[in-house]
């Protein structure tokens, strides 16, 4: 137990209610095997995701953040994910400027039927964050 707990990292996922959360649900219902590092926060739309959510998560202990919404042109609110795309791209470019590896943050589009894609995304992203290791290792060592 303790061995597994030590190796688990903290990944926060912001998933839109209409597509990606459904996609994750599809993966779960289909019993697709997924890593357990991810903690999902359901949001009404990827357009609801303020880039500050991601920064706050990364500054306060998360090792990685995943945002997923409906495919472009498929937004439940018509254009929420179009706004999200610009904001998230801006943040993706800003993170390395702050000294945070941009690979710790990923945004993508997954529909409610794409349980397989969800499984693949979570697995690959978790693997990548594990390769990068904990973000706050230094601070945790010296409390």
């Amino acid at each position: 137990m303790s061995d597994v707990a030590a190796r688990e990292l903290r990944i926060v996922g912001f998933l839109c209610n209409w597509c990606s959360y459904g996609g994750a649900d599809t993966a779960g219902v289909s019993r697709f095997k997924q890593p357990t590092d991810l903690r999902i926060i359901r949001v009404p739309c990827s357009g609801r995701v303020d880039p500050l959510f991601i920064v706050k998560a990364l500054l306060n202990g998360a090792d990685g953040v995943l945002v997923s919404g409906c495919h472009p042109r498929d937004c439940h609110y018509t254009d929420g994910n179009f706004y999200a795309r610009r904001r998230l791209e801006m943040l993706k470019r800003l993170l390395p400027f702050l000294g945070i590896d941009e690979r710790r943050f990923h945004y993508t589009w997954i529909s409610a039927s794409e349980g397989g894609k969800w499984q693949q995304t979570v697995t690959d992203f978790t693997k990548r964050v594990h390769e990068l290791g904990p973000l706050h290792a230094k601070k945790e060592a010296t409390p």
Partner: protein
């Protein structure tokens, strides 16, 4: 003299306005200070020289219902354009008195050059030479050496928007490529170096919010999420992560809106380079969307809009 012509220009519009914003001498020879003139006899206090560093347009949103005349340099004029884009001022209530500007001083850089000796006197020559007198003697500096970084790469020495122009228009002789050269150079550092840099800088922050209050585009002011308890974005702890978070709030709320007047950085009493983050975002906005804030009043800030097909944004693979 430009000062005299400026006084005349303000006297000419004085009857039309409730208040005129200009500069007067500050508490010592090295500082100018904003002055709010409401009576014609006050016009004589007015000065114009490279000490006039402040962006006076910062006061405009708070004076929205009044008729205001404001003295504006090239860089300051971008703020007005951005205000117009966002509907923060009534353009017809503002009389813009533009001044083509060859650069202002950075008080900190002058003090650095003079070993922080109190300045007894300072005079400005025709060709950008500055003579500074301290108790230790006289020293001649060049404006190009002691100006803020924004002046070194200034692309808009002449105001973009104005009602009266005092002086002849100046065209920039600085390469547009130089504007973000420092940002690109910073990106050559390793990730660890960058993180260490920001941690060291932000650790000095005392959360006095001078950067926020001096920023013309920070319009939330008393409703700033850095101070609200609900939502509770950041705590009152003086820890590095809370200070870091405050600066991220400031930077991200200015994404694609920052006119790079540098007031945040100038206002910081602890010498934190707070404008750098916003300029990095501006560079990205330029590369991604070809957008520059404060240039065209009809434009829309890039994060307030979108294209269905974003040719510049590639899908990310894991």
């Amino acid at each position: 003299m430009i000062s005299q012509r400026l006084r005349e220009a303000i006297a000419g519009v004085f009857s039309e306005v409730d208040v005129a914003l200009a500069y007067q001498q500050g508490f010592d020879k090295l500082h100018a200070t904003p002055c709010f003139m409401t009576m014609p006899e006050e016009i004589n206090k007015l000065i114009w020289n490279p000490l006039c560093v402040h962006n006076l347009t910062s006061y405009l949103p708070s004076l929205k219902k009044k008729k205001v005349a404001v003295v504006v340099k090239g860089c300051d004029s971008r703020t007005i354009v951005q205000f117009m884009q966002e509907g923060l001022i009534n353009r017809e209530n503002v009389v813009i008195i533009g001044i083509p500007c060859n650069g202002v001083i950075s008080v900190n850089k002058v003090l650095h050059e003079t070993n922080h000796e109190p300045i007894e006197d300072i005079t400005f020559g025709e060709n950008g030479e500055i003579t500074v007198k301290t108790l230790k003697g006289e020293k001649t500096l060049l404006l190009s050496d002691v100006c803020p970084d924004k002046c070194k790469t200034c692309q808009y020495p002449t105001p973009i928007v104005y009602d009266r122009l005092v002086g002849d228009p100046i065209t920039s002789d600085k390469s547009p490529d130089s504007v973000y050269a420092d940002i690109k150079e910073f990106e050559n550092k390793t990730l660890e170096e960058r993180l260490q840099y920001w941690e060291q800088e932000f650790d000095r922050c005392i959360r006095c919010y001078a950067c926020r209050n001096a920023c013309p585009m920070c319009i939330c002011q008393d409703s700033c999420i850095a101070e609200t308890r609900d939502p509770h974005w950041i705590s009152q702890r003086a820890t590095l992560s809370e200070k870091f978070m405050f600066h991220m709030i400031h930077a991200l709320h200015l994404a694609g809106r920052c006119v790079e007047c540098g007031e945040c950085e100038r206002a910081c009493p602890m010498g934190i380079p707070v404008n750098k983050l916003k300029r990095k975002i501006n560079l990205d906005m330029k590369e991604l969307f070809g957008y520059e804030p404060g240039i065209d009043p009809e434009d829309k800030p890039p994060l307030y809009t979108f294209k269905v097909d974003e040719v510049t944004i590639k899908e990310h693979k894991i």
